[in-house]
Symmetry: C2
């Protein structure tokens, strides 16, 4: 952007003032033993950008983040966590919230019996297989009906196959309002993949259908999503049959 | 350090000029599927500091590094890798070398059959256990006798239990010359553990016995190790019965 275009940028409307938004971001790390863990390629950048975009529109933002190497956006309350179980507990502690945007790549599984000492390789012996246990489902938990359910719960789907069918199915199964569907099989711009890359090709899946968004960088996805959230929660949207 | 003490610091001797040093650093990432992987808590800082210290003494340094968020030290040739298999291939390609310092935290195991598409959680079904295969042993490979064996091969041992016994046993079993033994069960200075922390409490295990070094920051460990390497390789050391 040129300096002129930056100066000409319209001020961000404060249409989320008074709202509390909970955002999750980054990977989770699920320990195998004191030094090893299962991780995933999430950089956290999409979630951090969403937290920044919601904060810029006036929302109070709690950002529950797995291990990443990103600074907290200004004005955002950062709660660092490691495992999926930690992340669920931190999310529940952050309620009530008007908006929940669950952008973290939560590990589906944890190691059933993590070692309390470093596991040792035994020469000549095969490795014991790692037994896995399903982690708590943070999106389904926060989407469950009840007095503390945020008015708008948004999940993410990172898929390598059958993106839209899987995302629509996930929306119904989890009980959330919207799904931001992200095709991680597409190559990123010089990066090893979209997960961890700079640009996202997303579809927004709602009860009304699916919108294809153009290829955008993560900040543009965040700004567009924050504007859609603000429009959805604005007083005139209350007359719509929503979410 | 004060400016006066920096100005007063003695110039580093160029006693490794003409030597080629191979250094490994960081964790390896062993893929589970396109988005998930097994990792470990190595920050890469100790290996990067050793590469910088050897380079400062005049060595040509090839630094084979797993995924870390550190810049390459000035003058060092960085070869980025992901898995243990990649790291072994990059090390072999970097030979011949006079010195090999294998500071990477190489994953002992890889997933036997990584998924080519993202593994999906099946509601109501338990997770299939992850079958693991032993990775190639980079330290043992580079320590094996032969015309391409570096004159001085140095391994690292990160242990939570029985540090010195395990380190001495590892030195004999792998066929390397020295082991830098690092007690990762000690708490770091405000960090989650020594692995990833700023200071190391190390012992140097050689054929002659074991030296306990004081608690040092990673740059001090690197400087001390580089000085020991230079002394060992200096012409007058050839009259010693070493390594």
């Amino acid at each position: 952007a040129t300096i002129a275009s930056l100066l000409a940028r319209e001020p961000v409307p404060q249409d989320l003032a008074g709202r509390h938004a909970l955002v999750t971001a980054g990977p989770t790390h699920e320990p195998i033993d004191p030094v090893r863990y299962i991780a995933n390629r999430s950089s956290g950048r999409q979630g951090y950008a969403i937290a920044a975009a919601l904060s810029a529109r006036g929302a109070g933002v709690t950002l529950v983040s797995g291990p990443v190497s990103l600074p907290a956006p200004p004005g955002v309350a950062l709660v660092p966590v490691e495992t999926a179980s930690d992340m669920l507990a931190a999310c529940e502690a952050a309620l009530p919230a008007d908006i929940a945007v669950l952008a973290a790549a939560v590990g589906d599984w944890r190691v059933t019996h993590p070692g309390t000492a470093k596991l040792k390789k035994r020469p000549g012996q095969p490795a014991a297989p790692l037994s896995l246990t399903v982690n708590p489902d943070i999106l389904a938990s926060l989407s469950a009906p009840g007095p503390r359910r945020p008015a708008l719960v948004i999940g993410f789907a990172a898929e390598t196959e059958d993106l839209l069918a899987n995302a629509a199915d996930k929306r119904r199964r989890k009980g959330c309002d919207w799904i931001v569907a992200n095709d991680v099989s597409l190559p990123g711009d010089g990066s090893p993949g979209v997960m961890g890359g700079d640009r996202n090709q997303v579809h927004l899946v709602t009860a009304d259908g699916t919108e294809a968004w153009p290829s955008l960088d993560k900040r543009e996805v965040a700004d567009r999503l924050a504007a859609r959230i603000a429009a959805h929660l604005a007083p005139h949207s209350l007359i719509r049959n929503s979410p």
